[in-house]
Symmetry: D2
Subunit: 356 residues, 4 copies
């Protein structure tokens, strides 16, 4: 257990991972306080509940947050980013913060495009990415996209229990941590780095059981192959969207370019309360759907499709959604979503390598 786990999942060779006994919220805090100082201007995109929470944290931690808001269901507005970056000749913007995949609305942002904008204007802002519901499930390339801090949590695509925040810092981010003035102790990378040098790795007692879990999770992921894992999520996402379409319902995500392969937020007709759908799914069918949060409360329900999940499990879930839709009075054609999904999947599921 002596080497630090996790670098591979970020597709980085130069990054330094920190495995912190915390959650995604703590990982956010680690990313911000280690690289920035109070009052620093940061650009941050508000596109749904989880980006909103991160922005709330950014504000409460004392940063000067320049919020770029989009309608919920849309991706980050990169045109506005480009304008701000272009205008910022004085480099007052210290960081750009973006959620790769907004779990509340099922929107995946275009991380490569953010990098292109920063590069176009040779802007030195740090590039901080919340990859909680993307890393190990969606295409993520830390080095190629010049991400400075990427982070995820143990309980998402790694399919472990909650309790480990996994943060990866670029050399530039580590450099920034030397002068960052934000008050921090539990989340301070410098303490970790000190112990890395000593070869003992943790400045305080780590979550040993989650480190063993991490080792096992990485074995499972790399046995399938990280790229195959990503393809599987792509397949499950597409299948889910085909089902939604077959049901005659709308995806909360407004454009195909933003479609998320890890979660689909489904808009219900105005005469239905999506909360009722989530409740019934849980109480009658033992099916755990996601609530609509905040602005989309009552309006959407969410189907999660990330982690150690296979095609038949998804189809069982879709069949369950159909029953709930019927229960709440939506005129769904039973089997229609499953058929749309399975017709697509039947042609695309690869053989399981160990069983060929």
């Amino acid at each position: 257990m002596v080497r630090i786990l996790g670098k591979e999942i970020f597709k980085t060779t130069t990054g330094t991972p920190f495995l912190i006994p915390t959650t995604g919220t703590g990982a956010w805090e680690s990313a911000l306080t280690n690289t920035l100082s109070p009052g620093d201007r940061i650009v941050s995109f508000l596109i749904g509940q989880f980006s909103l929470l991160w922005i709330d944290q950014q504000k409460r931690l004392g940063f000067n947050v320049d919020v770029v808001e989009s309608e919920w269901g849309q991706g980050a507005n990169l045109e506005i980013l480009a304008e701000k970056i272009a205008a910022d000749r004085a480099h007052t913007i210290k960081a750009v913060c973006i959620v790769h995949n907004e779990t509340a609305t099922g929107v995946t942002n275009n991380l490569a495009a953010v990098r292109r904008i920063l590069d176009e204007y040779r802007h030195p802002a740090l590039y901080l990415v919340d990859g909680v519901s993307s890393i190990c499930a969606l295409d993520f390339r830390m080095d190629e996209w010049g991400v400075d801090v990427a982070l995820t949590g143990s309980q998402k695509a790694l399919s472990l229990p909650t309790g480990m925040g996994i943060v990866c810092a670029s050399p530039k981010a580590l450099e920034a941590s030397k002068s960052a003035q934000s008050v921090r102790f539990f989340f301070d990378w410098n303490d970790y780095l000190k112990f890395y040098k000593l070869g003992t790795f943790w400045p305080y007692t780590p979550s040993v059981q989650l480190l063993h879990g991490m080792r096992a999770a990485l074995d499972v992921i790399f046995e399938e192959g990280l790229d195959h894992v990503i393809e599987r999520h792509s397949r499950l996402g597409k299948a889910t969207r085909l089902a939604v379409e077959a049901w005659g319902l709308k995806n909360c995500t407004q454009r195909e370019e933003w479609f998320s392969d890890t979660v689909t937020a489904v808009v219900v007709p105005p005469y239905i309360d999506s909360t009722e759908i989530v409740k019934r799914a849980w109480k009658r069918y033992n099916l755990s759907l996601g609530l609509g949060l905040n602005k989309v409360a009552g309006k959407v329900f969410r189907i999660g499709h990330l982690g150690h999940l296979n095609d038949l499990q998804l189809l069982g879930c879709l069949a369950g959604v159909e029953m709930v839709l019927k229960d709440v009075g939506y005129p769904v054609k039973m089997g229609s979503g499953v058929a749309a999904a399975s017709s697509y999947l039947q042609n695309t599921i690869p053989l399981i390598p160990l069983r060929i």
Copy 2:
């Protein structure tokens, strides 16, 4: 762990359970050797692979087996039983052996009817029942139906690992064990009974971990309620049969009265090899279907639906079967089986009590 577990699942108050570290095959042997003597005449029904194996055991253990064979897909021929019992004024028939649910063909026999025949002729034959794929899933009433030995295994409806054969003996069976001349030691009830009296319960080291498992399994079953568990299986069985019908395929079970609620054997068209279906399901969809065995090899595949299984898991399985059927060239309408099943289930699934 001091009281003997398991009586409740047989619906008996007078039976004596034996929890033997063995499998269903050993439980069969226990039932026969403790109650019968070599050369004893027994009537036994051959209706599929598992009844055939039991008959093989009966013969090799030295009994005089009067085999009543049915076409595979049919239930036990009780008319012939009635004739034999009627004719046996001398009571040369020492036992009637029947498999409650033939797992190979998905046929459930009518146990109450067997008892009626024996009663009608006041015939004293012992009544031995293999309940491996029925007890805790199908309606089973040891006392009411006058069953003398009932048996099951830990790995079926109890959803435990394999390794415990659970045998329940009526007072009449215990009485028979006193004079039964079959050679036995490991399976000898008398050793168990001796230790029951001592309060130490096992004549040799028991499978302690499976006793803990049994306690947990019974808690799960009785929390749901044994009768609700049976209703759930009834629902899952019906849903599966509706799917098979929607696919335009035939149930191997020839008459509704014999339909099994724990396993469905599906007949494939002659131009398809059912073995191919089972292989593909495993290799591509991670779906474990049952092969056609012996006389129905290549002709049927089997869908198991017993144990700790819920409606959405079954629907996921049915969706998987549809994909495999398509793979092997059967002109299935995608979603058709799932729709047939879910249309039925949507009206019939009860709320989960703990979540109301």
Copy 3:
């Protein structure tokens, strides 16, 4: 899982527990940042490595720390505390911070005496206690001793994996949290309190597996009885000290009043390097002893005796220590420590209630 776990272990009826997905270090941070503002004067006792680390945190989080240092092996100097409190008529001291049990030196501080001092001078300072290696093992009385924030971690006397910081706040501490100006987000009690009101309990994903573990750990503790658990630790501590004495070695703890019942730091003769003892114990005997830390590095090794540990396990450990001592050239009389411990234990171990 709906009610908040853990109040009972603090012996409080008015406290509010927070179960935070973090470690003891994070629990410290939670206690400080929720109750204090940057620049606040706090009195803190430096008596060993863990109190030193907490003081380091206190300083780095921006508090004005009035350090009361004792020689390592002594308890908190309460005379100096009394002087400071007496002198502080202006109530510039906002909090007194103390480690109940200093794990590095095996010193248990007198918490009741601290409260008496504060009461004597009617001083309103908050009373913050690190109970990481004491709560659920040593006598701890939050309400009786007027502790304002008490904290522990899942991996100590609760015998769970690392990953949950358990913090309990008095009404006065909660009141303080309303005006505390320290920057905080992940550790902010107010977010927890908001969700407590909503009945959903966590402002972010909790460590669900540790909540299940906590439930099980509390069941184990309350089945034995919290006071019996404390008595057991008292017995194990005494037995260990008797062994140390029999070996002719000195306890790092300088006075009986400070003896710790959860860890014993043993001073080795100058010609022995205690690090060698710890290494050999691990490499040859599969025995995990604690290193001497910082000022006592090389000079002491530590025997932990807290949590789900029984008398024979401790005696096995003591026998192992004897072998290591012999290995490194200390002239120990083999069996002497074990005999001293077991002679005492033999008279004092109670019957196991469930086995009487």
Copy 4:
């Protein structure tokens, strides 16, 4: 899981292992019924409770058992064996049955000597060995000693849960199974062999969880090294005997040549009831000792020292025994047994390879 596990632990290259979902008692039955016919003469040694139980089985299964009895505490009387073998020119003796290690008295028989006797007279009797409490703990060499059937159980030196009988048959035993007339079905090797040829390995559902356990147990054993495992048991056995001697108590085993390295039966003075020792150990110290059985009931208690057990665990156990001895009024010098054991162990425990 496709290849058959276990051959290595018997030190055989030509043997065929059978992993049967049963216990040691079933493994005995498998060994006898597959190689012998009713009425066959066998020589069997009665030296304690477990050999007595096997002989009881041999008789009840219909064999003509020529019992060679020794006083309990002595090993098998090989002089009488030699006489019988010498006298049996007609080869009426079909098998010699011996318990390698008699668990009731802590006696290890000399298996090589039995082979020498058979060889000296070129006697073709099968050589059947119960290795339940020896294989994977004591030196056992199936091929070298010409053992025809060797057997053990999962719950002994393999440290797994109960439920798997592991039987290994020599080519000669397999040959014998072709003509053996004993009635058998569940335990019939021929059914296993048929499925071995098919590559599916089990004639009925196996204990899948124990097969996974077996794989893990073998990994643990071969990581330590089978010969190192045997040396460890030798060390633990010697240490235990030194403790017994230091207590002034007698080993039930009468001669050093028979000393068992997996269990030590300790004789108590006449004024003490050993049952009381076992009860108190369990009720007060959570220590599980073995009762004296049958002829030695009340006279001996047993200390087991086999399986996944290390030196400190044994020393903790010995310390516990000392406390119980004191409890029941035996004038034990506290620490004396532990000191005797640890003085020996301290010089002999090797470094743990992975930690060097």
